[in-house]
């Protein structure tokens, strides 16, 4: 029903406008220039969320259902996530369980891919996962 271009493409265009057209017109080092850069980063984040979020949420939902095995009525994702957190807090779920740790890692990596894909610890975690045999570069 909806026509193109869609949300992510529009946001890409807004980020480019902010960075390539508007920011050069603002005084370097000014608060306005800083705010514009933050805004461009926020627009990029929202575009990544629209592109990557649905698959990340669906994968998390599957893992949560396997971990919690909830009975009864269908629950929202927020409810399932809260339930898992409370189960860790109470000790109802063993926090050393490999399945739990795999879920926490997968969710966190998926979040970083949206929130801050250039964050150096995230890049390093990805690099070590791709080539775990490499010793850490001190």
């Amino acid at each position: 029903m909806l026509d193109h271009p869609r949300g992510p493409a529009l946001l890409d265009a807004v980020a480019a406008l902010l960075r390539d057209v508007l920011m050069p017109q603002l005084p370097a080092g000014s608060s306005a220039a800083f705010q514009a850069r933050v805004a461009a980063n926020a627009v990029d984040l929202a575009a990544r969320e629209m592109r990557l979020g649905p698959a990340a949420e669906a994968a998390a939902a599957e893992r949560l259902l396997a971990l919690l095995q909830p009975g009864g009525a269908a629950q929202t994702q927020d409810t399932l996530e809260a339930e898992l957190a409370l189960a860790i807090r109470s000790g109802a779920i063993d926090d050393q369980s490999p399945a739990l740790r795999a879920h926490l890692w997968a969710s966190t990596l998926d979040k970083l891919a949206i929130d801050q894909p250039s964050y150096a610890p995230y890049r390093r975690a990805l690099q070590l996962r791709a080539a775990p045999a490499q010793p850490p570069q001190e």
Binding site: Q35, V38, A39, N41, A42, L45, D78, E81, A82, L84, A85, L86, I88, R89, G91, D95, L100, R101, H103, L104, W105, S107, T108, L109, K111, L112, D115, Q116, Y119, A120, P121, Y122, R123, R124, A125, L128, P136, Q137, E138
Partner: protein
């Protein structure tokens, strides 16, 4: 100049001749930090011969500050007490009195140098400093951790148990409980170290950004506003928190070097051994505290207390702290 700066200029021009009798006028007044409740101003008290006395004013124009923060007069008393202790600090020139009419705060000597972490990490001017800073940070931490408490004003105590309890309370108060934070809390509970054998002065925000660096290295430790008595391992951990490495992730200490060098310098300064597992506990507690702080920004944004894009983006930095926690507590990476 009008409004607040003009009023402050007038207030300082009335005050400074009483403190530094040769002062004729105030020049170069500029605000360095834009906090709503804590301001830092830079200016020179210029004498008749044109010689300027470089000064910094830290003041609160009124209003509430974070409940973790020391009052400005207490911070001034602490920094003043540290003169001659071996901890490099700026000289406190004057603690403001109500009769001074320029707010609550204190004046200190302005030390020239760089505070911006990325410049210290990257600029050619700091090549020599970079080779020395890890050791100098270890020595400065050692010096502040062995200051006799009798020489200090009364400071709040932050025990290990109270730190953990506060993290549990804040985590439980989140609108949406978080699995990674709860995972970290379980680890912190299971590995909680004994209280330190003796309480020490702890800076509380010991990191790049809060130190002044010159080409020859460390010149002063700044920003004592959350200093307290507690476990010195907290400072050795905080300076290694991943956000304070500013991208240089394989260099745990301030993005500049390895923990072994920091610990060796601290041990040389204090004559005590570093318990690396205790430091690791405080690093996890630090990342969790930082993560909870970011998570709390969601409420600031959604309630309209601060609807800025900048505030919203801080709330989306929760995941940075979460990967820092997972790397530290559930990976084999030695530079987590």
């Amino acid at each position: 100049m009008s409004g607040e700066p003009a009023a402050l200029q007038a207030g300082l021009e009335a005050l400074l001749p009483r403190l530094l009798p040769h002062t004729r006028r105030i020049t170069g007044l500029q605000r360095l930090s834009a906090g709503a409740t804590l301001q830092t101003w830079s200016f020179d008290a210029e004498a008749a011969d044109g010689h300027g006395h470089p000064l910094i004013l830290r003041r609160s124009p009124g209003g509430l500050r974070g409940n973790e923060s020391l009052s400005l007069p207490l911070e001034a008393a602490l920094v003043h007490a540290l003169a001659g202790s071996g901890v490099p600090v700026a000289e406190v020139v004057h603690t403001l009195q109500p009769a001074d009419g320029v707010g609550d705060g204190f004046l200190m000597t302005r030390i020239p140098g760089e505070t911006i972490a990325r410049k210290i990490q990257r600029d050619a001017a700091y090549t020599t400093a970079r080779a020395l800073l890890v050791r100098q940070l270890g020595m400065a931490a050692g010096a502040l951790h062995r200051v006799p408490l009798a020489a200090l004003p009364t400071l709040p105590v932050r025990s290990t148990a109270a730190t953990l309890a506060a993290l549990q309370r804040r985590s439980a108060a989140l609108p949406q409980p978080d699995a990674v934070f709860e995972f970290a809390l379980r680890w912190l509970q299971r590995h909680q170290p004994a209280e330190p054998a003796s309480l020490r002065l702890v800076h509380g925000d010991f990191r790049l950004g809060n130190v002044i660096v010159g080409p020859e290295g460390l010149r002063a430790v700044l920003d004592w506003e959350i200093a307290h008595l507690g476990d010195p391992a907290e400072d050795l951990a905080w300076v290694c928190l991943p956000p304070w490495r500013f991208g240089q992730i394989t260099q745990p200490v301030a993005g500049l070097g390895q923990r072994a060098e920091l610990f060796a310098a601290w041990q040389a300064a204090t004559g005590e051994a570093v318990d690396a597992e205790r430091v690791r506990w405080w690093q996890a507690a630090g990342s969790l505290r930082w993560g909870l702080g970011c998570a709390g920004m969601r409420e600031w944004f959604e309630s309209g207390r601060d609807p800025s894009v900048e505030r919203a983006m801080i709330a989306r930095r929760v995941s940075e702290n979460q990967i820092d926690l997972l790397r530290l507590l559930d990976s084999e990476d030695a530079c987590a």
